[in-house]
C-alpha cells in the first residue's frame, strides 16, 4: 500500500537550504537563561508559564535554550504553517520525538526512517478509516454504559480517574480488539501507567536519564512485550483469527514483504494507545469541567441532546453529527485546554522564516496552548465559548489557527476518532446524569499531556435508569 504521509508530491523540487545573508536575523533569545542549563529548570517545572513568557517577550519567533539545545518557539498561524508545511528531511518530527523511542521501541515509528515510519503508520490507518469509524460510536457508548451501570441515585467520583479508565477500555477495544479489552488485567493498567509516567519533559533533554521513573518505564516495556507476545503466540498456535487491530498488524507486511516482529507489533499498539488514550481522557474531563462552568450553554446542549435522542436511543454515526453543540463544546475544550501543549520539529538543514535564519540542529516548536490564546485569532481567547465555532463566526476556519491536532502531513491520524469518542462519552453521561463540580480544577502537566490534576471530585445525580440513555 502506498502511503502519502511522508512522501513528497512528485512535482516537489528538492530542498535548497537558504544561504545566510547579512539581512537575516537570528531568533531573539528569551531572558532568564542561566549558564549551562539555560531555561531547563523552568521548562520542566512550569513549561506553560515559560512558553507564554517567551511569546510575550519576543513575539512570533522566540528562542529558548534547554541545556545546549536551542528551541525556537513559533507562534501564530503564519509561523505554524511554515513549520507544518516543511518536508521531513528539513524539519523532522522523528528526530524531535526520540524521547518516545524507549516506549515504542527501537526501529518503531519515530525511530524508523521517514519512509519506514510512513509504512508503519499506514498499517494503523485501516483502524481509523471511514468504514471502521462508522462502528466505533456504538462501542464507545457500550463501554461508557458499563462504567456507570453500577452507579446509584447519587454519589461522588474522581473525574480524572474515571476518564482515564474509560478511555483505556474504549481505545483498547476500538483500536486493538474486544479480546484484548476483556483480558485487560490490573497488571496491564499498572504496566501502562508506568510507561506513561516514564515520559516527562526531562526526556526532551535525554530519554535515558536514569531516574526512578525511566527505570520503571523500561521494566514495564519489557513486561508488555511479553504480555502482548503471549496473546500473539496463542493466536498463532490456535490458528484463531480476530477481526481486530492486533490481527491487522499480525497479518501486515512491509513493502518488501517482511512481517512485523512481536517487538514491532507491541510498539505499534503502544503508539496507537499513547496517541489516543491520555489525550482523549483529559479532553473528556476538560469538556465536562468547562461545560459545568458554562450553565447557559450546557442547557442548550442538553436540549439538543434531548431533541436528537429519545430515551433508549443508541448513538449512531449519523446522530453524532447532529449534536453540533456537543461537537463545538469538545472543540472549544481542545482549543482552551490542548492536551499536547508543545509540538516539535528538529531542523536537519538550515531553514528560514520571516527574515529569521535557523541554523541546522535548532529545534522548532509551536504551542497550541500559546497560539490559541492570541486575541487576533480568537475573540476573547481566555473565555470558554463553544459558539465561536458555530455558523456565522467559525473561528476555526482560518487554517493553522486551531492546531490542537497539529496540521499538515503529520496531523494527528486519530483526530476524527478522538472527536467521535469524546462526543459519544459526553452524550451518554449527560443524558444519564446531572453533574456538579465540588472544587476548581488545577492544571497538571503530567508528562507531555496537560490535564486537570487528580483527584478531581465531581458529584452525580442519576436522571435515568440504566438502559434509558
Amino acid at each position: 500500500m502506498q502511503v502519502q504521509v511522508s512522501q513528497p508530491s512528485p512535482d516537489r523540487a528538492p530542498y535548497a537550504p537558504p544561504a545566510r545573508t547579512p539581512s537575516h536575523r537570528l531568533p531573539p533569545a528569551v531572558s532568564g537563561a542561566v549558564p549551562i542549563v539555560g531555561h531547563a529548570v523552568e521548562f520542566i517545572r512550569d513549561c506553560l508559564g515559560l512558553l507564554w513568557r517567551a511569546y510575550q517577550e519576543q513575539g512570533e519567533v522566540a528562542k529558548l535554550r534547554v541545556f545546549n539545545k536551542d528551541i525556537v518557539l513559533m507562534t501564530g498561524p503564519r509561523a505554524a504553517e511554515a513549520m507544518f508545511r516543511a518536508q521531513d528531511e528539513v524539519l523532522s518530527p522523528n528526530e524531535a520525538y526520540k524521547m518516545m523511542v524507549p516506549v515504542f521501541g527501537k526501529d518503531v515509528v519515530y525511530d524508523a526512517a521517514p519512509e519506514r515510519m510512513g509504512e508503519q503508520l499506514g498499517m494503523l490507518r485501516p483502524a481509523l478509516q471511514d468504514k471502521r469509524m462508522r462502528t466505533y460510536g456504538e462501542i464507545v457508548a457500550d463501554e461508557t454504559r458499563r462504567m456507570v451501570q453500577g452507579w446509584g441515585e447519587r454519589g461522588e467520583f474522581d473525574l480524572v480517574q474515571f476518564c482515564a479508565q474509560l478511555t483505556n477500555f474504549t481505545s483498547t477495544r476500538c483500536l486493538i480488539g474486544r479480546e484484548f479489552r476483556e483480558q485487560m488485567s490490573g497488571e496491564f493498567a499498572q504496566v501502562y501507567y508506568d510507561l506513561e509516567r516514564g515520559i516527562t519533559p526531562a526526556g526532551y533533554i535525554h530519554p535515558h536519564i536514569p531516574l526512578p521513573s525511566t527505570i520503571r518505564r523500561d521494566r514495564a516495556r519489557v513486561r508488555l512485550v511479553q504480555m502482548i507476545g503471549s496473546i500473539v503466540d496463542q493466536r498463532r498456535k490456535s490458528g484463531a483469527e480476530g477481526e481486530d487491530f492486533l490481527q491487522t498488524l499480525m497479518d501486515a507486511a512491509y513493502n518488501d514483504g517482511s512481517k512485523l516482529s512481536d517487538h514491532e507489533i507491541t510498539g505499534m499498539l503502544l503508539a496507537a494507545m499513547f496517541a489516543g488514550h491520555h489525550t482523549s481522557s483529559v479532553t473528556v474531563a476538560w469538556t465536562l469541567l468547562e461545560l459545568l462552568q458554562a450553565p447557559d450553554y450546557l442547557d442548550r446542549l442538553l436540549a439538543q441532546l434531548a431533541e436528537v435522542y429519545k430515551p433508549g436511543d443508541d448513538v449512531t454515526f449519523q446522530s453524532l453529527r447532529q449534536i453540533t453543540l456537543t461537537e463545538n463544546a469538545v472543540k472549544e475544550a481542545l482549543r482552551l485546554r490542548p492536551p499536547l501543549y508543545i509540538l516539535l520539529r528538529a531542523a536537519l538543514q538550515d531553514f528560514e522564516y520571516g527574515g529569521f535564519f535557523f541554523e541546522k540542529g535548532t529545534w522548532l516548536a509551536t504551542s497550541p496552548w500559546v497560539s490559541h490564546r492570541l486575541p487576533g485569532e480568537f475573540r476573547e481567547p481566555l473565555r470558554y465559548d463553544p459558539d465561536r465555532f458555530a455558523a456565522g463566526r467559525e473561528e476555526d476556519k482560518k487554517q493553522f489557527a486551531f492546531i490542537s491536532f497539529g496540521a499538515g502531513r503529520h496531523k494527528c491520524m486519530g483526530n476524527a476518532f478522538a472527536t467521535l469518542q469524546v462526543k459519544t462519552i459526553l452524550a451518554i453521561l449527560l443524558r444519564g446524569f446531572r453533574f456538579e463540580l465540588l472544587h476548581d480544577p488545577v492544571i497538571a502537566e503530567s508528562g507531555l499531556v496537560m490535564g486537570p490534576r487528580k483527584p478531581f471530585r465531581v458529584r452525580y445525580q442519576r436522571l435515568r435508569p440504566n438502559g434509558a440513555f
Partner: protein, 63 residues
C-alpha cells in the same frame, strides 16, 4: 463549484468517500482520487459534509 485538495495534507483517511462517494475514491494503493473536479450543484450538501469532516482539512470547495 470546484473541488480543491491540499495534497500536503491528505492522509488517505477516506472519510470523504463515505460522505461523497460520487466525487471521491481511494484507489488500490490507498491514494485519494478525485472523480469529478467540478461536481454538479446538487452534490453541494454532500461535499460540505466531506469538507467539514475531513480529518486533515485537506478539502476545499470554491464557487
Amino acid at each position: 463549484m470546484k473541488v480543491i485538495i491540499d495534497w500536503d495534507f491528505c492522509q488517505g483517511h477516506a472519510n470523504c468517500t463515505g460522505d461523497a462517494p460520487e466525487v471521491f475514491r481511494i484507489d488500490a494503493e490507498g491514494k485519494l482520487e478525485v472523480l469529478m473536479e467540478e461536481p454538479p450543484e446538487e452534490l453541494r450538501p454532500k461535499l460540505e459534509l466531506a469538507v467539514r469532516y475531513c480529518p486533515t482539512g485537506a478539502i476545499r470547495v470554491e464557487g
